[in-house]
């Protein structure tokens, strides 16, 4: 049984409870008072299939699949406008990140969601050396939808890359190694342990 199915079984028709137990800052969802200020404050609001206010309502209405497979949360630019304006002080940005992460964990993210892919690439990149390698991240980004697509994107951004290089703000040598934390062994040990503890915490709730 997939983790997703296990969670469906466990929480039956109470998606709100599932969110409370499994999503970062999810215990705040019930406190939304449906004023809609978040939706009106989002810079990318028009691109959300369901703006935050609606997402909260859908969670309460038990629309589990529609929420978790939505690309909406992935539209969050982390601008924190919703957080500072929410009259109930809900950490909306964090809840959106939490929902996105939860959807990813359950394998429900829509295919080819670009931000989901990029965010994963970013994490993988930083976990390797402890610091982000912008060049490798950039290359990975160009090629995340396959080689042919990547060449096209890279060509489109060629001038930009040249500009960055000319001004010393991109270093082609980074491809060979690049910046890294010195105590890489220690860094990896710390992060491994953190992941184990995270997994144990999740296991307590069933997924």
């Amino acid at each position: 049984m997939s983790t997703n199915q296990a969670m469906v079984e466990k929480y039956r028709n109470n998606f709100l409870k599932e969110v409370e137990a499994n999503v970062e800052e999810g215990e705040w969802v019930k406190m939304c008072m449906q004023c809609g200020v978040c939706s009106g404050s989002c810079p990318l609001g028009k691109f959300w299939d369901h703006p935050p206010q609606e997402i909260f309502m859908m969670i309460r209405a038990g629309k589990r699949d529609e929420v978790l497979t939505s690309s909406s949360m992935w539209m969050c630019t982390s601008c924190y406008n919703c957080i500072v304006r929410c009259p109930r002080e809900l950490p909306i940005t964090h809840i959106m990140h939490g929902l996105a992460h939860y959807a990813k964990r359950l394998g429900l993210v829509p295919q080819n969601q670009p931000t989901a892919k990029f965010a994963q690439l970013f994490w993988d990149n930083l976990m390797k050396k402890g610091r982000v390698n912008e060049l490798k991240l950039g290359m990975a980004l160009y090629f995340m939808n396959g080689f042919g697509e990547g060449v096209k994107v890279a060509m489109k951004n060629q001038k930009l890359g040249m500009n960055m290089m000319k001004t010393g703000r991109m270093n082609p040598m980074e491809i060979l190694g690049g910046h890294a934390v010195k105590d890489l062994g220690g860094f990896h040990k710390v992060m491994k342990k953190a992941q184990e503890l995270e997994d144990a915490r999740i296991a307590k709730h069933g997924a």
Partner: protein, 299 residues
Amino acid sequence: MAKRQYSFYPGCSSQKGASSSNYLISVQTMCEELDIQLNEIPDWNCCSASIGYAGGGELPRLTLSARNIALSEQHNPGQDIVATCAACWLSTREAQERLHEDQSLLAEANSALAEAGLKLKGDTPIKHMAEVLIEDIGYEAIGAKVKKPLEGIKIAGYVGCQTNRPFGISGESFENPKYLDKLVETLGGDSIPGYEKKVQCCGGALAFSEPEKSQEMVKGIIEAAYDHGADMIVTPCPVCQMNVEVYQDQINATYGTKFKMPVVYYSTLMAVAYGRSAKDAALNAQIIPAKQLEALAAK
């Protein structure tokens, strides 16, 4: 007078050969002039910014920042941590607050850190460089050092998101922060207090994954600056600087605009106003050259 000491967290994009390496250069120049000594946190790591959430769960993400704070506590004890990057500052401060609020998370983070012999107390103030300037140094002291006032240069203060929200600078409003305008005036330039896009999002990390959506917003940010007659835009954030500066060619191609708006850091302005060279101000790293600043630096 003794130099002010800070534990410095430069962040990935400030490293040599990275996208905001120019930011670091001008910050160093600015700090020399203001008698600020930045002590880099040894062996710091990435904070995962606000885009690490897909791959990283709650604890792993918080642990990244916990490691940096623990290193600072160990090597630069008693010094406030200062970051120049908005995302670095936000992630680090947020992690510190979350761990402070949730003791079980703190215990878990510490047991992860213990793997590398580290321990987090979590009582170090975490500041953005703008806070250091405004709260620790003050406008008066900043203005006292000006040798070449930025006379006749009209500058739109673009504050952006993450230096402004959710923490922001003390005493400023989220909707209309004024510190960049005050800084511009302090340096002898002309501010644009009515610049309506000063806290508009530029797209942040989505500039990479959703370039069209992001560039539409950037277009608005530049257009409003033009409409107010701005010569350039100033910003405190490396993501803002990059997103607003480097895509102008692509935006021009998409929208038929003819933007050529320089976007500089506050530290760039200060280095020039303090009479330092174009190189010390990292003006050579502008993709869209700030010609008025170059001329002033050459004088």
